[in-house]
């Protein structure tokens, strides 16, 4: 179905090629997962498949890309619209019309299909993707998962043979992500579609993949193989694979189900082993929310939320999209006025503080860290932060150097990788050492390496006595760093307790290791490895 022969891509005024010497054959009906670090060329590889590279992006393409017998050299992306459906990273940015039905029909209108055919295919697609109830709603009003399904539907109506998706689940909560992935799997199994997708969150996708393509970046060659072959010694792997490596299972498990079949002996070995050291008890209280009510117009976002945050604890805030997580963060930083109840940080009302004074009590990294940045280089950005918070010159830059070593001072913030940009925003916010730090979806778009770095940073912050509250969908991150979890639903806190207690019993929020080893209470592969090592040291 897809043939890449010795493909290389070099963009104008770049010194090194983004991709080189890629040989790949993808047969019909496979679900192929493309993995690799941020900036390694995954998106470029995906975009060669429908000719966006080089027709749209510019640059030079060497070698040949043939999809369903059509060479992208002679076919522009629009000429491949009936063969390849391409869904970009942000579905909302790709919508041309504003109603669901019109959006589904747009591609067919461009191809000039007969009205009767269009009508039939729109109905079929609505049913296939479960969108019939929202057919006449504006796309902007849908949930993120529904939007992603509309984006998939909008390219499916032209009946392509290949579906290409760039990070389809990175912005979704776990349940919405499963909805989308289930849809994709159905397309592969029922319709024989070939699906190629890039994704950082391996733990969500790898179990569905027939083949994994590793794009290592730099000059290293692109490799492909079955998930097991590629992940056997890949530097990064989902927790369930790491657990398999620790326990020495063969073949390596790719899904929780595979792993659970092997897990009985491991559970036996862990029986009676020491659990992870309990985290030090939290210190003095930093922030208090009492019966906080916040609403947007007549839509209530928080309905009487009460909680406290203390020094030295890292608290994860979980819940589906629209449950009120971001609103709670905004209320804590004074960006959103509370209509009743009380919020205090360090005993002060954040909404009443002047911005310059606010900095010293609470810092927040918004969902799009780039919103905080406006200077033309990293160095100037850091100087600006020093001036804003009246710090000695160079302190923010020094902090950034510690968090993310080896980044040039002259780089433009826009050219940084997703992870580096997050650490830059983090450095700016942390420079004045506010006791309370809020993070909104910090792992969106981060690769595993950047995420590991973030986990280390967050642990250090907790050790230094900061109180950290992070709103996130990433259950594995929560398992790694959080000491306490708050679960929100419909503007209320529905669960509040130590991480292990809250997440293990929840089907949506349990990390993979917990699912494999339940009813025992283990959260991360590292915990298991440490426990096994100490158990063996005690009784050789």
């Amino acid at each position: 179905m897809i043939e890449l022969r010795d493909v290389g891509v070099t963009f104008a005024d770049a010194q090194a090629p983004v991709l080189s010497g890629v040989d790949l054959t993808i047969p019909e009906g496979e679900l192929v997962l493309v993995v690799g670090r941020t900036g390694s060329g995954k998106t470029t590889l995906l975009r060669t498949l429908n000719g966006l590279v080089p027709h749209f992006s510019g640059g030079t393409l060497h070698g040949r890309v043939v999809v369903d017998g059509r060479d992208t050299r002679d076919h522009r992306p629009r000429d491949l619209a009936d063969v390849v459906g391409y869904v970009g990273q942000d579905p909302l940015a790709g919508f041309v019309t504003d109603m669901v039905e019109d959006e589904l029909a747009y591609g067919m209108e461009s191809l000039g299909l007969a009205p009767a055919v269009m009508r039939k295919r729109v109905e079929e697609t609505l049913d296939l993707l479960g969108l019939a109830e929202v057919r006449s709603r504006p796309v902007a009003d849908l949930s993120a998962g529904q939007q992603q399904r509309v984006a998939i539907g909008s390219v499916l109506t032209t009946h392509p043979r290949v579906l290409v998706l760039d990070e389809p689940t990175s912005a979704l909560d776990p349940l919405a992500a499963e909805e989308v992935l289930a849809t994709l799997q159905r397309l592969v199994h029922d319709l024989g579609l070939t699906v190629v997708l890039a994704e950082h969150r391996l733990e969500r996708v790898v179990q569905y993949a027939d083949r994994v393509v590793l794009v290592p970046g730099g000059s290293a060659p692109v490799t492909s193989g079955t998930p097991e072959q590629v992940l056997r010694d890949a530097p990064v792997a989902p927790p369930v694979v790491e657990l398999g490596r620790i326990a020495g299972w063969d073949p390596l498990p790719m899904s929780v189900r595979d792993a659970r079949r092997h897990a009985a002996p491991l559970r036996g070995r862990l029986e009676g082993a020491e659990g992870p050291e309990p985290r030090p008890a939290p210190g003095e209280t930093v922030a208090v929310a009492e019966h906080v009510v916040v609403s947007y117009g007549r839509v209530p976002a928080l309905r009487g939320v009460s909680t406290t945050l203390s020094r030295g604890e890292t608290v994860a805030l979980m819940g589906r999209n629209g449950a009120g997580k971001s609103t709670l963060l905004k209320a804590l930083v004074g960006m959103k006025k509370v209509s009743s109840g009380r919020v205090t940080v360090d005993g002060l009302d954040p909404a009443g503080l002047r911005p310059a004074a606010l900095l010293r009590h609470v810092g927040m990294v918004p969902q799009v860290p780039g919103d905080l940045l406006y200077a033309s280089s990293v160095g100037r950005e850091c100087e600006q932060a020093d001036q804003d918070s009246r710090l000695p010159s160079g302190s923010t830059l020094a902090l950034f150097g510690r968090l993310s070593p080896g980044v040039g001072v002259e780089m433009h913030p826009r050219d940084l990788s997703e992870g580096q940009r997050l650490t830059l925003a983090l450095a700016i916010v942390l420079a004045v050492r506010p006791p309370l730090l809020l993070l909104d979806e910090p792992t969106r778009g981060l690769d595993y390496t950047a995420k590991h770095r973030l986990v280390e940073i967050l642990r250090d912050l907790a050790d230094e006595g900061h109180s950290v509250l992070l709103a996130t969908h990433d259950v594995e991150l929560v398992a790694e760093v959080a000491s306490r979890v708050l679960v929100m639903a419909d503007g209320e806190i529905v669960a509040d307790g130590p991480t292990a207690e809250v997440v293990i019993s929840s089907p949506a929020f349990a990390p993979q290791v917990a699912k494999v080893l339940a009813p025992q209470r283990w959260l991360t592969p590292t915990e298991v490895a440490v426990a096994l090592a100490s158990a063996e040291a005690v009784s050789p």
Binding site: L52, D90, V96, L111, D127, G370, D388, V429
Partner: protein, 380 residues
Amino acid sequence: MRAVDRLTFPRSLHPGAWWVWAVALAAAASRTQNPVPLALILAVTGFVVAARKSNAPWARSYVAFLKLSLVVIVVRILFQALLSTGAQGPTVLVTLPSLPMPSGSGLKLGGQVTLEAVLRAFYEGLQLATILCCVGAANALGSARRLLRYVPGALYEIGVACVIALTFAPQLVTDAARVRAAHRLRGRNGTGLRSLGRLAMPVLEGALERSVDLAAAMDSRGYGRTTDETASSRRTTTVLVFGGLLGVCVGIYGLLDGTASTWLGLPMLLVGMVVAAAGLHLGGRRSGRTRYRPDPWALPEWLVSGCGAVAAVAVFVDVHVAPEAFFLASVTAVPPVPLLAVVGILVAALPAFLAPPLPVAAAPTTPTAHPLDDRSEVAV
């Protein structure tokens, strides 16, 4: 009789019909400053909007336009009363403290405020306000965005550009609000010129990125694939369309102005329309696009646009027959009631009953059945 021809069959009316109706009312309003027909037109638009608006977000635009109209009237009166030296009458209402202005500038500040000046300003403001409300009614009843779906094939690219602009403008506002809120997190107040520059950077960068994403998405979904055209055919189309539109504009100006020479009016409008239609037809032939579920143009559409036309024609004819009822000799006199115009405008209120009612979303009929069950039947 087709179902779509029935006046009681629930569906949304073709947006074009609402726009024809509203534009005709606006044209009628543009011919007079007599407050009686103006107030009547205002009432008619409000009545029809109240009767036939949907609960879509754009349906609220009528209220926004109404508020804007009030502002227009108030501003108009204030400027006339406080600043203008011309058209002051004998009836002095109040005398404000005045500032001497350079003679010959045509300006004054303060001084005498007369009843005549205020009334004239009010009537002029009312005319502009009425036209604004007509546009607001059109937008509330058939959104501009929906209307753009019916842009002829030859103008398709321009239509797409308009739709994207309509989407991006509100997005820019939300982005700006978000970035401003983020600046507070860096200890900035977010006021002043320098912070405006800081705001512009991320907002414009974001907008640019989104446009590139959108262009990529459109390209990979086949945008522009079916147009096969030669340079000469494209040129012919462009000349015809724009030449024709120019003719239409001149014709409309001649018709509404009423003082221009007669050949500038109706004949020019007709010639322009024919030329533009030829251009659109030529251009439409080369575009191979098809249209998904277009709204039908059936009896109710004809009736609604016809009602608007009746009002416009009645006012135009009445102005011609009895001009003294439309151009007031004295602003302080009680305005006369032009009978023919009033009857015509009242006809324009009929769409409140003639336009079909809007469909109401049906409640799920079998709430107990699992939605997946009947879905799989259709999909297989």
